[in-house]
């Protein structure tokens, strides 16, 4: 059990991430709010509790790594990194702006704290496998987290990587699958089915844990269940695309579209309302 103070603190961080997702995507005039909002709670748990990292030393060799394989959720990652102290939060207002460092998709050469450049789906898990392999080679105890979209795992390379991870017994590798059940053209099960998803990962030699990806207590608790048993772990996090903004929740339309001015105001006031309730 985690104490209530911690849970409340992380809920606050998740809310701040959500607010910055709306703010930065609105200001940029483009970007992906839906998949950023669905992964906000997971990122908050990782960067504000679970991961071993040091914003003052982004390249610390012993840090836990995070590969945001679904790179289009960059607004959420950038918000988490800024709030953690990797760079000033004010920079989030310059997302996607020419001459600024916050690229539309994560760029490890430009953004402190970004461990891998991503954006083309299906590559991140392979890279995470390489990082985990390096950890084993160097006998270091860091862990590698890879965040995957559910639509993303339709890519064949994901399964090449999944196979390699269990073959090389990478129990220092933890994938988190943002199971928001939507991709661009529709629900995943209509576009290209993924179920039985847990079974598929098990068949590839992974430990599978299924959780509610918006329940902070459950997310935090999950990390304690991960065993050093020579098997990689995947956490299938059941989420809601657009989570936290009523008119974005469960919709396809906000996958890659910014809110209008009116929608921006509504979204922010909804999030601020939740923030007030949390602080009461």
């Amino acid at each position: 059990m985690h104490d209530e103070k911690l849970i409340k603190e992380i809920k606050r961080k998740a809310l701040e991430i959500r607010k910055w997702v709306i703010e930065s995507v609105y200001r940029a005039g483009s970007g992906h709010p839906g998949g950023s909002l669905s992964v906000a709670d997971i990122l908050a748990c990782l960067y504000f509790h679970e991961m071993r990292h040091n914003p003052k030393d982004p390249k610390w060799p012993d840090r836990d790594r995070l590969v945001l394989s679904k790179g289009h959720a960059a607004p959420a990652l950038y918000a988490a990194l800024a709030l953690a102290g990797y760079f000033p939060v004010e920079e989030l207002k310059n997302l996607r702006k020419i001459g600024h460092f916050l690229q539309g998709h994560p760029c490890m050469k430009k953004v402190p704290g970004v461990d891998m450049s991503t954006g083309s789906l299906g590559h991140g898990l392979s890279v995470a496998v390489g990082m985990a392999l390096a950890g084993k080679l160097d006998k270091k105890d860091y862990r590698v987290f890879a965040i995957l979209g559910d639509g993303e795992v339709q890519e064949g390379q994901i399964w090449e990587a999944a196979n390699a991870a269990s073959h090389y017994k990478l129990d220092n590798l933890i994938a988190i699958l943002d199971r928001n059940k939507l991709q661009i053209d529709g629900p995943t099960e209509e576009i290209m089915h993924l179920e039985p998803l847990a079974w598929r990962w098990q068949a590839f030699g992974w430990d599978v844990i299924e959780i509610d990806g918006h329940d902070i207590e459950e997310i935090l608790g999950t990390f304690h269940e991960i065993k050093l048993n020579e098997k990689p772990t995947i956490i299938i996090a059941n989420t809601i695309k657009g989570k936290g903004v009523s008119f974005m929740e469960g919709t396809l339309s906000f996958h890659g579209k910014p809110p209008s001015e009116e929608q921006y105001i509504r979204a922010m006031s909804e999030l601020e309302q939740v923030e007030r309730e949390l602080n009461d």
């Binding site: 060799p61 790594r65 590969v67 760029c107 490890m108 050469k109 461990d115 891998m116 450049s117 991503t118 954006g119 083309s120 590559h123 991140g124 898990l125 392979s126 890279v127 995470a128 496998v129 390489g130 990082m131 985990a132 392999l133 390096a134 950890g135 080679l137 160097d138 590698v144 390379q157 090449e160 990587a161 196979n163 390699a164 073959h167 090389y168």
Partner: protein
Amino acid sequence: MIDATITDKKRNLRDAYSSALIALGRRNPDVVVLDADLALSTKTKRFGTVFPDRFFDMGIAEANMMGVAAGLAACGKIVFASTFAVFATGRSYDAIRQSIAYPELNVKIVATHAGISVGGDGASHQMLEDIALMRALPNMVVIAPADATEMEDVVPAIAEHNGPCYVRIGRADAPILFETHGMFEIGKGYVLREGSDITVIATGTMTAEALKAYDLLKKEKIDARIIHMPTIKPLDEKLVRKAAKETGRIITCEEHTVIGGLGDAVAMAIAKKPVPMIRIGVNDVFGESGEAWQLMEKYGLTAENIVKRAKELIKKS
């Protein structure tokens, strides 16, 4: 001028690759080698036998191998990833682009079985557009060594270079051209024969043909300058422009499609002050099965064809 002669001695560049890799592995514990179920053919298996802890066979999953290489490099390893050129570049292009070239990671893609001289396997295995693909990627260094001696110098040189490199070598044994080590430097071209009537710029397997062409041209009283261009990117543009200025004609030779390879790189380098030029390469067609020498002949990748085209160019200009 660099000392180069064609002797009867031949040596396989893949053998040179694996010996150099083992020597490098002894000196540098950060060297890690990956292969994709072709470790016996690429000869990386020899490294794996000596350093089993630092060799990983990634199975028949080339794109994943490139991503894994990127992850290892992001954690400080110098990663060599090998398979046939057709799979190393074609099959894995997006993984190389997104995970290696864009983040500028320290991965050395050493591809074997490049070009038409693969022979019997036919067009599916004869990679003729890998230079074009890799050359188009920012941050990528592209190298095609001419013989085993040079290959042994290329391996430590690319390990020294911090960033992505693509090296392509052929399948067949190749004549030894260079007796001594220490010549190779990334980004440098080498004058192997002086001449003033025309310049032949060759890379990879075609450098040996260019040297043979020199002797044949000599008999016809044509003085050719022969340049060996192991690094196609970054190109030694100074040397190319000097040759253009001094000899007034250029022929490029590569075991690659004429589109996007050495020929195009040279043409770009002289675009401001052009001279008459011919690009010898495979003319925008796929290959076919046959013996290596038969294919080289059929597709015009021979000293004889260089001579023929040189005479044409001299007659016309």
